[in-house]
């Protein structure tokens, strides 16, 4: 029997329309809008000014503070503006706008290099930090921070997240199929940085080709004393959640409020591992990523290798343009993604997909009163009581929801998905999560 996580979970139709489409290189856009706040934590500080010439890979934003990440130019050209630009959600964020001229790369980037250099883990870590790598599954937590194991804790396992449980998205799937060697080298580097000997790659059973290929490659060895094991997992959403994946792969439960390192695990996304390989071996910063552009109303769904900052509109145009019956454009997948209101917003390090929903799909279910069926409770992968948090928040009792652990919510949306009454549970739980975390922070300080 295949492994999976123990609490909750749902089985939405996976709709992987683009799983057979090889990764295509997206042509360079005319201009890119690179946000300096593409990660969790403090926004980077711009190191360029209007009029500066930049090359691909040049530093344009320096990390400020510990939890922050460097930002690099994804194109060569002239900086035309350093100001606040709206992202896909319409929120203005400090950004650098660059007009593209040619495609000239920074001299330090060596695209030909393929072998892992013989450097210390500390140097590897610095290379990762300087490449501005963040978690590419969507959470965008700076990778070098995640790799810094706090004193007194020890990492035992590295778990690579190749689950891609979000319906429609196929970016990680294609990366695993097309770049298995790079991925495995990235895993080896991550293991060295963390000084662990055992790495798992968790892949859901709906990607048998990736499981087979990586199992074969990993068995071939050649990654020093690191043993890499591919773990096929039963398809279940949200298996890509960090805590769910740890439960599924090594059967350990991360306690409420704790980090995975508490149970000796560090989780990294498959795309992140490839980016780590490129950073350490090729000195290539994170300047491009694979984005799945998909949807039933799209002419030709594709997996595109896109330079960061490319307007979302350009991606859609490249795949056939917005259909007349497009109801919503979602930045991300259908479960956790957010509806975009500004298509001029650029692709960020966390953009794993762009999903076009047609009018019918985009409509929300009309909501009716709760019928107390407790379906939300049974599907919640964090073991919360969504209906209760929802009703308390609605009635102004947010502060009293603390014992219900709303801060554990991973915002997977399983509760809203399953609710037969169509109640938008997640919207209110997210509010409660924010409020309760604010209260807890205030109490601490």
């Amino acid at each position: 029997m295949l492994k999976t996580f123990k609490i909750g979970g749902i089985h939405p139709n996976d709709n992987k329309l683009s799983k057979g489409c090889a990764i295509e290189k997206m042509p360079l856009p005319e201009k890119v809008v690179i946000s300096l706040s593409q990660h969790i934590g403090a926004p980077a500080t711009a190191t360029v000014a209007k009029g500066d010439k930049v090359k691909v890979g040049d530093l344009i934003g320096k990390a400020t503070g510990f939890v922050s990440a460097d930002v690099h130019s994804s194109v060569s050209g002239t900086v035309v503006a350093v100001d606040a630009q709206p992202d896909t959600s319409g929120v203005r964020k400090p950004s650098v706008t660059i007009a593209v001229e040619g495609d000239e790369w920074n001299e330090q980037i060596d695209l030909g290099a393929e072998n892992i250099p013989d450097i210390t883990p500390k140097e590897m870590m610095d290379a990762i930090a300087h490449a501005g790598i963040v978690g590419m599954g969507g959470a965008t937590f700076p990778t070098h921070v995640k790799l810094s194991v706090p004193d007194g804790k020890k990492a035992e396992f590295l778990i690579i997240n190749g689950v891609e449980c979000e319906p429609y998205l196929t970016a990680d799937h294609r990366v695993m199929l097309e770049r298995p060697d790079d991925l495995l080298k990235g895993v080896a580097i991550l293991c060295k940085v963390l000084s662990v000997k055992k790495a798992f790659i968790g892949i859901e059973n709906n990607k048998p080709d990736a499981i087979e290929l990586l199992t074969k490659k990993a068995a071939g060895g050649g990654y020093g004393d690191v043993s890499i094991e591919v773990v096929p997992l039963k398809v279940q959403y949200p298996q890509g959640g960090e805590k769910q994946l740890i439960d599924a792969v090594i059967g350990r439960q991360v306690p409420s409020g704790a980090l995975p390192i508490e149970v000796g695990a560090v989780v990294q996304n498959a795309g992140t591992a490839v980016a780590v390989y490129e950073a350490v071996v090729k000195h290539k910063p994170l300047i491009e990523r694979v984005v799945t552009v998909t949807g039933k109303s799209l002419a030709s769904p594709k997996n595109l290798l896109v330079r960061l900052g490319t307007p979302v509109q350009a991606l859609i145009d490249y795949c056939g343009g917005l259909g007349d019956n497009t109801g919503k454009v979602i930045n991300g997948g259908p479960m956790m993604g957010r509806a975009a209101c500004n298509l001029e917003g650029g692709v960020t390090k966390g953009t794993s997909g762009v999903l076009l929903m047609n009018d019918g799909e985009a409509k929300r279910k009309p909501s009716s009163p709760c019928i107390r069926c407790a379906k939300c409770v049974s599907v919640c992968p964090m073991g919360l009581e969504p209906y209760l948090i929802n009703v308390m928040t609605k009635n102004g009792l947010v502060a009293q929801t603390e014992p219900l652990h709303p801060y554990d919510c991973i915002e997977c949306g399983s509760c809203s998905y399953t609710c037969p009454a169509g109640i938008p549970l997640l919207d209110f739980i997210r509010l409660a999560k924010g409020e309760v975390m604010k209260i807890m922070r205030a109490r601490k300080s």
């Binding site: 606040a84 709206p86 959600s89 319409g90 929120v91 203005r92 957010r338 509806a339 209101c341 500004n342 985009a362 409509k363 929300r364 102004g396 938008p424 919207d427 209110f428 997210r430 509010l431 924010g434």
Partner: protein, 322 residues
């Protein structure tokens, strides 16, 4: 038969006596002394239990008042200075004089002034909508329009105007408890000095974007040109983050800034109509004042601007852009 009845009644009586005696001693033993003045003060308070004072209900404020040495920082916004005076008298203290305040909605981005750029179909709650994205219009600072403030108002002083899509405050009913101020996720509502005859002048905009961006998103937004700051003879206006703010305690209601404002972001309410001789930009303002006085509530007013004024605005926002 009779015996059973008598026996039952007697047993019950005996049980009652035993329980009464036990309760009497328990009550003596565990008696908690409470200042009797708390009850009296609580009776003097309005009893709305709105929490506007910062305490959970009127009894909370009453016990705080009795325990405190001075009246400093303790006030019932609902009862106002009259109530506080009588309480101070009862407690033998001096009441703090506090100017009456009223909630003011600082956004005039009605449907006409602020065109929609997208449609939100999620939960009808300002808090939820603003946690998800910038909003249905180009202005990410303005009123979301789902009426979270209306829902929390315990006095029925706020209502949504379906035409403008903005909340309106009823001066008469508003007690300045501040619940709406806390409920608004965009921090648009502010408690301001009520002013003589409820006359007020305020900047009805909180948009911190640069002038050109504000201008594109909303016809009546503050573009941060600073004209009002220069005009104000009392230094009551300050310009911070591209938005002007009028200090209601420094403002002497001369209304010079209202005339000067190129976008009409500064609102005046409850003033008599201006003399008609003033020409130019003042003209639409006079209309506006007339509308404002016609409605007793501090309605965010919308009006069509003269061609002259639009021209004025264009120049001003160009300047700001530069």
């Amino acid at each position: 038969m009779n015996e059973t009845l008598i026996f039952t009644v007697l047993t019950l009586c005996a049980l009652g006596v035993v329980a009464a005696v036990a309760l009497f001693f328990v009550a003596k033993k565990f008696h908690v002394w409470e200042d009797p003045r708390i009850d009296d003060v609580e009776k003097m308070l309005p009893g709305a239990n709105c929490g506007g004072c910062g305490f959970p209900g009127c009894r909370g404020l009453a016990s705080a008042l009795v325990k405190a040495d001075t009246m400093e920082g303790l006030a019932c916004p609902v009862g106002g200075s009259q109530t506080m005076k009588s309480i101070a008298e009862y407690l033998g203290r001096v009441a703090e004089e506090k100017e009456p305040e009223v909630a003011v909605v600082r956004c005039s981005g009605s449907c006409q002034n602020r065109p929609k750029t997208n449609t939100y179909d999620g939960v009808s709650s300002c808090a939820v909508a603003s946690s998800l994205y910038a909003g249905e219009t180009g202005c990410s600072f303005g009123c979301v329009g789902f009426g979270d403030c209306v829902k929390v108002c315990a006095f029925g002083a706020l209502k949504m105007n379906p035409e403008t899509g903005l909340p309106e405050v009823d001066d008469e009913k508003c007690t300045a408890c501040g619940k709406c101020v806390k409920a608004c996720p965009k921090m648009i509502i502010e408690l301001r000095k009520k002013g003589p005859k409820s006359r007020r002048v305020f900047v009805s905009c909180v948009n911190k974007d640069k002038g050109a961006i504000t201008r594109k998103a909303c016809k009546v937004g503050c573009i941060g040109c600073g004209k009002c700051v220069k005009t104000c003879p009392f230094e009551a206006i300050k310009l911070e983050n591209n938005v002007a703010y009028i200090d209601s305690y420094k403002c002497r209601l001369c209304r010079k800034c209202v005339v000067e404002c190129p976008t009409g972001a500064i609102n005046e309410v409850n003033f008599p109509p201006r003399p008609p001789k003033e020409a130019g930009p003042a003209k639409p303002m006079a209309e506006k004042a007339a509308v404002a006085t016609a409605a007793p509530v501090s309605a965010p007013v919308t009006e069509n601007k003269g061609a002259e004024q639009t021209e004025n605005v264009k120049k001003e926002s160009e300047k700001v852009e530069k």
